[in-house]
């Protein structure tokens, strides 16, 4: 102890600079040690950082980019796009011979590379029949030699080439970036006059976004109502019974999602266990069996059950840290049971409610397997349409736009939550 207070005088050289044992100025040596420490801690988190960047940030960036990217038209038929630039779609006349000649030239190359049909499927998202038009034209370009005038030659292959709307669509979607996917994602479309809402019988996405939000909130709320008493019970029971109860909470958590969803089918369907029981106790008659599945009710029940542990666990871990003496103190000061709970106990559980609600809500908003299986038509989410466009229609641009909007919605709600409750007021334990 004493030597530590004695030594400083030895470390100070004639120039008044504090030096380390090896003679370097202490300041520099300290900075170096600090740098090394920082580097070490950075290297420790580097694998995780790289993982997050590669598996999370880059895919999200790629998805954001896909929702506006539209290089395919320019890359497949570059000459056509260039010559088409001077054509006015409102003129009421077809593009001139130069454009058709350029199209023939472009298609010869594209057919050779077998990419013309890809452009066809891209444009088919905007106008029905484009994929067939390109497939058919490609076949003829490969098999026969075109003869000028090209305009007549193309129209002879398929009269759609004489349709001004076909050319207007090509021109409208020729820039490398397009707002088209985003417009589609909010039930609008790009027309000659700019963006406009789609006809009533094709609108679907706004309804689905709204439904996804409302139903996710309902699921979150029902998880909270069911989970709060269980969390309370868990944290107040003696350890042995609490452990047993905990296993009961976790058991469904460990069971396959599909098994649980199918189990709900067996329970909820009209010829299912619950309806059979209700008929048996004469609460309802055989003709009046309840419809509890393949609709919103089914989705809410099944998803509440599946997501319940995500609400209970944070609630439980927060409630466990609340000392029982607070409530006791409140009661000894004359508070009724309800006042003690509402004014003293409940406010302390808010961080747990916040954490659980955010977890459940965010998981619910992106769910699609359960709604697909038990949702029927009124209980499906926007994520079901995203999955459809990813795997069936292959319209990845639209899927990306829908995904981006969903992401922005979640961020907006997160912001609102931060303003109302405060994001630092969230505790997982």
């Amino acid at each position: 102890m004493s030597s530590a207070t004695d030594t400083p005088s030895d470390a100070i050289a004639g120039d008044g600079i504090v030096r380390a044992a090896d003679g370097t100025p202490l300041k520099r040596s300290l900075a170096r040690a600090l740098r090394r420490e920082k580097l070490r801690s950075f290297l420790l988190i580097a694998p995780l950082l790289a993982f997050v960047v590669i598996s999370f940030l880059l895919p999200i960036a790629d998805m954001l980019f896909r929702s506006v990217e539209n290089n395919i038209v320019q890359d497949t038929i570059p000459e056509t796009v260039q010559t088409l630039a001077s054509w006015d779609a409102d003129s009421g006349e077809l593009p001139d011979e130069r454009v058709f000649a350029a199209l023939y030239q472009d298609l010869q190359i594209a057919v050779e590379k077998r990419i013309h049909t890809r452009l066809g499927s891209r444009l088919n998202y905007e106008k029905s029949g484009m994929s067939g038009l390109f497939r058919k034209t490609g076949r003829d370009v490969r098999r026969t030699e075109a003869v000028a005038p090209y305009k007549e030659w193309f129209i002879a292959i398929d009269e759609d080439w004489g349709d001004i709307e076909v050319w207007a669509v090509i021109k409208r979607y020729s820039p490398p970036y397009t707002p088209g996917y985003f417009l589609n994602a909010v039930d609008a479309e790009l027309t000659a006059e700019g963006a406009a809402m789609k006809p009533e019988n094709e609108r679907i996405y706004l309804t689905l976004f709204w439904r996804t939000l409302v139903m996710s909130l309902m699921i979150t709320l029902s998880c909270l109502l069911l989970g709060y008493p269980i969390g309370y019970l868990l944290s107040h029971l003696p350890a042995r019974s609490a452990n047993l109860l905990m296993i009961l909470v976790l058991l469904p958590f460990w069971t396959s999602l599909l098994v649980r969803t199918s189990a709900w089918k067996v329970l909820l369907q009209q010829q299912g266990v619950i309806n059979d029981f209700l008929v048996w106790i004469n609460l309802i008659d055989d003709a009046g069996r309840l419809v509890m599945i393949n609709n919103q009710t089914g989705t809410i029940i099944a998803m509440t059950h599946i997501l319940l542990p995500f609400m209970i666990l944070p609630l439980y871990s927060v409630m466990q840290t609340i000392s029982p003496s607070y409530v006791r103190a409140a009661k000894s000061l004359g508070a009724s049971d309800w006042t003690a709970f509402w004014r003293v106990y409940f406010p302390q559980t808010v961080p747990g409610i916040g954490a659980g609600a955010i977890l459940v809500f965010i998981l619910a908003i992106g769910y699609y397997i359960t709604p697909e299986l038990v949702g029927g038509t009124s209980g499906i989410f926007i994520s079901n349409r995203i999955a459809f466009h990813i795997s069936t229609s292959l319209n990845w641009g639209l899927a990306a736009a829908l995904g981006t909007i969903l992401l922005l919605l979640v961020l907006a709600l997160f912001y609102v939550y931060d303003r109302i409750v405060g994001i630092d007021n969230v505790k997982l334990g």
């Binding site: 077998r114 990419i115 049909t117 019988n201 697909e372 038509t377 009124s378 795997s391």
Partner: protein
């Protein structure tokens, strides 16, 4: 019309003719394969269907060549996954089982290679070229058809409210008076729109002309609207047999093989209604972008697995009709149940008196638009 005539002819031949040549001709599997990989990744649908392929194709082939098979049950997402693999430049599948409409998409997107019917597929035993043997079922150069299946209806045989009547006409689906009860239909416009248009009184060969107009689409949706409240929509083929077996629905559409197993293997009180069954095809494609050794192996396997005998062998395990005309006479009895398979084939003349031929190219052009309208209608 052409497709139907051909199918009827092959099926008729199946009833009349007797097995023409010996089983177990393995010359194609034993044929030398130069610069070929020793492993083959095959993608299929899983379940009973994949089992029938393993029994009929891969087990004999593995025995003859020693090739190791890796099976992947991803056919339902094959198109999306192949596109992702191709974008990543790492195609891990060698042979992929897809339905005809997906094969058209894959070919359009340049994700499947073209297969030459004259050199890369086996001719029929009588020397008919593979392309002629498959006929119109070979919907494009990338696709080698395997089986004909159909989407058709099953109904419960014990519905009291029907007073002994049974549905034998597709339009009974829309008749809630005579046949009350819930129905299950596939949650997609394909087939449903055609059936609705047909039951609106449109002749069969004009269905697609009518559906090409906005009024036609509106009329079909209006027809479906009449039963909308009574419909349970399915997405997986196993749902309808389950719904029928539990009594949740009284009639429902699904793939004929699924109904066959519910009726013949599980003895459920269900019967088939074949009227206006919708024929569809399933077959192989080879992805674009394989290296030479894997490509050679894939082609070698495909030539063997799609020859006349192999296609007929598959029908022993599942009630789907072989896609080659020359295979039909060889279809025998079920491998385990011992029942004659021919009457359970969608192509059997008794079942195929009134069929609907689903137009792949028309749907390739119109699916995006009609799907948007159909889904919007569903959600309303």
């Amino acid at each position: 019309m052409k497709l139907k005539t051909l199918l009827m002819a092959t099926a008729a031949a199946g009833v009349l003719a007797s097995p023409a040549f010996a089983e177990g001709d393995m010359s194609l599997a034993e044929a030398p394969c130069e610069n070929c990989a020793d492993e083959l990744t095959v993608v299929s649908w899983g379940g009973a269907y994949q089992t029938s392929q393993i029994k009929a194709y891969s087990e004999p082939y593995a025995e003859a060549t020693g090739v190791t098979f890796v099976w992947d049950e991803s056919s339902a997402e094959a198109v999306a996954k192949l596109r992702a693999m191709s974008e990543a430049g790492n195609v891990t599948w060698d042979v992929v089982d897809v339905v005809a409409s997906d094969a058209i998409r894959l070919c359009d997107e340049g994700l499947a290679i073209e297969i030459d019917g004259a050199t890369e597929l086996a001719p029929a035993p009588d020397g008919t070229s593979a392309d002629d043997d498959f006929g119109v079922l070979r919907v494009n150069e990338c696709f080698v058809p395997q089986i004909v299946y159909s989407t058709t209806f099953g109904y419960r045989t014990d519905v009291a409210e029907w007073n002994g009547a049974v549905p034998d006409d597709i339009c009974d689906i829309f008749d809630l008076e005579a046949f009350p009860g819930k129905r299950s239909l596939q949650r997609r416009p394909i087939d449903n729109m055609e059936w609705a248009t047909y039951c609106n009184g449109t002749p069969k060969d004009e269905i697609y002309d009518v559906l090409s107009t906005d009024e036609g689409i509106a009329a079909a949706l209006a027809k479906l609207d009449t039963i909308k409240d009574e419909v349970v929509w399915w997405t997986a083929g196993a749902e309808t047999p389950q719904l029928l077996a539990d009594g949740e629905v009284v009639m429902g559409s699904t793939f004929n093989g699924r109904l066959f197993s519910a009726i013949a293997e599980q003895d459920q009180p269900i019967a088939m209604m074949w009227d206006m069954q919708s024929f569809d095809l399933d077959g192989w494609i080879i992805p674009e972008g394989l290296d030479e050794a894997r490509l050679n192996r894939a082609k070698h396997f495909l030539k063997f697995a799609t020859d006349t005998q192999r296609l007929a062998d598959q029908a022993k395990y599942i009630s789907y009709g072989p896609a080659r005309a020359s295979s039909a006479p060889l279809v025998g009895t079920h491998a385990e149940l011992g029942i004659d398979m021919a009457p359970h084939m969608p192509t059997d003349p008794a079942n195929a008196s009134n069929v609907h031929n689903y137009d792949y190219t028309w749907w390739a052009d119109n699916r995006d638009d009609i799907d948007a309208k159909f889904q919007a209608w569903l959600v309303q």
